[in-house]
């Protein structure tokens, strides 16, 4: 029987020939990623209480990003707990202060097609961009993985989100994602497995695919997978991962997913999500010319090299509006170095951007960079829940890096295409960029 990629990945991980949605299976974990917030500071006391050691330190990747820079005593204690635990446990893949976990995990070459992986963070589906099955878990569940090397799973249904056509100027994966959040809702993924597919997805580079997989979390899916291809292979080669198999881990073209939605990229226009949900997305002109205080290019979702380049395309030769702040926190040190070498970073700084460390920063409102009462922010991050970036009265709009950069220039929500050179006034968006092809709830 033809199978989806999800079925193949999970069948391998649980050691069975085939699986069916709904089966309860136990999977062997190939890779477990933790960060400083949900990692050692939480699992170490539990491991000690159990008197247990980790099952295999070579399958653990540990990355610090949430409580950096460590500006207070609590954050410093969290950082030293994390470092000490890595040394004691013998975790060699420990990346300390070089960027946000999901981006670092990829750029250090730890992911590859076929893996079954878990991460102690809700945006762990990001790993799915490499043709892995990867999902997020909490700290106690991570403890279970650390002790047993296994995790239970109810085999999910597969949802195909297919994109056809070519994205226009000033449009990117973030716009695709916000459009899908608006159309399908934050529980549209039903904690099942999304496979992003179609010519538009195949035409995206790795970091753009990562944005899609990352925000599978905002669709409420467990995983968000992109089939590996030559783009994946080339990225992993450059990341030092060595040769990878891109032929095995593919969906059978005649497989029948539980749902199959088709979106049209060529009629898509820039999307902006209003407070307090990514599902409150609509085309940029429908959000009014909302006046803003801060433009924030940050997070694993929206401050990778490709995102910085988009922002620079808008900002080059321009200045941030009076009264506006533009904050840029490149997602990793490596991406920042490349942005610096090629002139992307100077375009941002010359425009008036304030540079933040390569860490989560204000994205989760944990420490550094919290926003005060009443502040109006437009951000390239994934979430705009109430109070997420600080005070409950602060408000967050979400947009692509292009859109956030355009808002920085004008001080209000603005269609970024107006600031891009080759803007052609033909994107009227008359056709609805969405069409439902077929739906099945059984997998017979």
């Amino acid at each position: 029987m033809p199978r989806t990629l999800t079925d193949k990945l999970i069948a391998r991980a649980c050691g069975r020939e085939t699986v069916s949605p709904g089966d309860l299976v136990t999977c062997q974990v190939d890779l477990a990623m933790m960060h400083d917030s949900g990692g050692p500071r939480r699992v170490k006391p539990m491991l000690e209480r159990l008197g247990a050691k980790v099952w295999d330190p070579d399958k653990i990747v540990l990355i610090t990003d949430h409580y950096l820079p460590a500006t207070d005593a609590d954050s410093r204690a969290i950082q030293s707990t994390t470092r000490d635990w890595a040394a004691q446990t013998g975790v060699r893949r420990f990346h300390d202060g070089i960027g946000i976990c999901h981006v670092v995990l990829a750029e250090q070459g730890h992911l590859r097609p076929g893996l079954f992986a878990v991460g102690g963070d809700s945006h762990s589906p990001t790993g799915g961009a490499f043709g892995c099955y990867m999902f997020g878990i909490g700290a106690t569940e991570m403890l279970g993985v650390l002790v047993t090397g296994e995790i239970w799973l109810q085999v999910p249904q597969t949802i195909w989100l297919e994109w056809r056509g070519q994205l226009g100027l000033g449009l990117c994966a973030k716009d695709m994602m916000l459009a899908m959040c608006a159309r399908l809702g934050m529980d549209g993924g039903r904690y099942q497995s999304i496979e992003y597919c179609g010519e538009t997805v195949r035409a995206l580079g790795m970091q753009e695919r990562m944005t899609l997989s990352n925000m599978a979390a905002e669709l409420g899916a467990q995983a968000g997978i992109v089939e590996a291809d030559a783009v994946t292979r080339d990225y992993l080669l450059a990341a030092g991962a060595g040769a990878v198999d891109i032929d095995t881990w593919r969906a059978d073209p005649d497989a029948r997913p539980a749902e199959h939605h088709v979106f049209n990229a060529s009629t898509l226009v820039p999307q902006v999500a209003a407070p307090h949900s990514p599902a409150n997305s609509a085309s940029v002109d429908q959000q009014g010319e909302q006046v803003l205080d801060v433009a924030y290019i940050g997070a694993c979702t929206g401050a990778k090299l490709v995102d910085l380049r988009m922002a620079a395309q808008v900002l080059r030769g321009r200045r941030v509006a009076n009264g506006m702040r533009l904050l840029v926190g490149p997602a990793s040190a490596q991406d920042q170095a490349q942005a610096q070498a090629e002139g992307t970073l100077s375009a941002l700084i010359d425009a008036g951007a304030e540079l933040l460390p390569n860490a989560c920063g204000a994205c989760a409102g944990y420490g550094a960079g919290r926003f005060d009462d009443g502040i109006r922010v437009i951000a390239s991050t994934a979430r705009n829940f109430k109070g997420r970036m600080g005070a409950a009265s602060s408000r967050i709009w979400l947009g692509s890096p292009y859109t956030v950069a355009a808002a920085a220039v004008t001080g209000r929500i603005t269609d970024p295409r107006l600031l891009l050179d080759r803007y052609a006034d033909d994107a009227a968006g008359v056709e609805r960029p969405y069409q439902r092809v077929h739906e099945r709830t059984d997998h017979g």
């Binding site: 050691g15 209480r49 295999d56 070579d58 399958k59 070459g109 878990i137 997420r388």
Partner: protein, 209 residues
């Protein structure tokens, strides 16, 4: 039996466990649970009370402090038409009872509620009727009944189901930092290994005590 706290709209993990308190212990986080939508909640909720919420309850982050804060406050159960998947897993792991129940919208604030998890029934003493919920799989109920995954693992280790490890297992191969560790798989059969070339020596486990 306890009284019902009814929440409408959306209850996400930032509402349950606000980011700015995440560096503190669960007692402090619990003090701020729900404060952005119902400041009275954390102060006035009593052990045995029941939270009734909207669909996709607990959407958002992987922070298990979100269900743990409710358990810390003594919440006996959360009833909602549906739960975010990650929140659901975390709730089981911290021993918080969740019941998926399509008809919980009939429950009004302060109704006296009694929950029978094994039968999947919710008795509304105030309104004098009962609501049927989706029954929990036995495996998950055993984890919740143990008080969460940690005590459940403790029980299994005491019974000898999981060996206490005296030394960490380590793959025999020494991957450089940029080389992913190899999965010691012996059961993959005809299924190709995603890490070709890693098989040699990867199943050797010389250090296990």
């Amino acid at each position: 039996m306890g009284k019902a706290w009814v929440f409408e709209g959306s209850v996400d993990t930032d509402v349950l466990a606000p980011g700015q308190y995440m560096k503190f212990g669960i007692e402090e986080i619990a003090r701020h649970c729900m404060e952005s939508i119902e400041p009275r909640f954390a102060r006035e909720v009593r052990p045995g009370d029941v939270v009734v919420g909207p669909r996709n309850f607990g959407l958002g982050s992987s922070r298990e402090q979100a269900p743990a804060a409710l358990r810390q406050l003594g919440v006996a159960a959360v009833l909602a038409p549906s739960f975010a998947g990650l929140f659901y897993r975390n709730a089981v792991n911290v021993g918080l009872l969740l019941l998926e129940c399509a008809d919980c919208g009939s429950i009004r604030p302060d109704d006296q509620i009694e929950v029978d998890a094994a039968a999947g029934l919710v008795h509304n003493r105030t309104q004098g009727h009962q609501i049927t919920c989706r029954a929990l799989p036995a495996h998950l109920r055993s984890v919740i009944e143990a008080g969460g995954l940690l005590p459940w693992l403790e029980q299994r280790m005491a019974k000898g189901d999981i060996p206490a490890q005296t030394a960490p297992r380590r793959s025999a191969r020494s991957p450089a930092d940029s080389t992913p560790a190899s999965p010691p798989r012996s059961d993959s059969g005809a299924v190709p290994d995603p890490m070709p070339g890693s098989a040699s020596g990867s199943t050797v486990d010389a250090t296990r005590g």
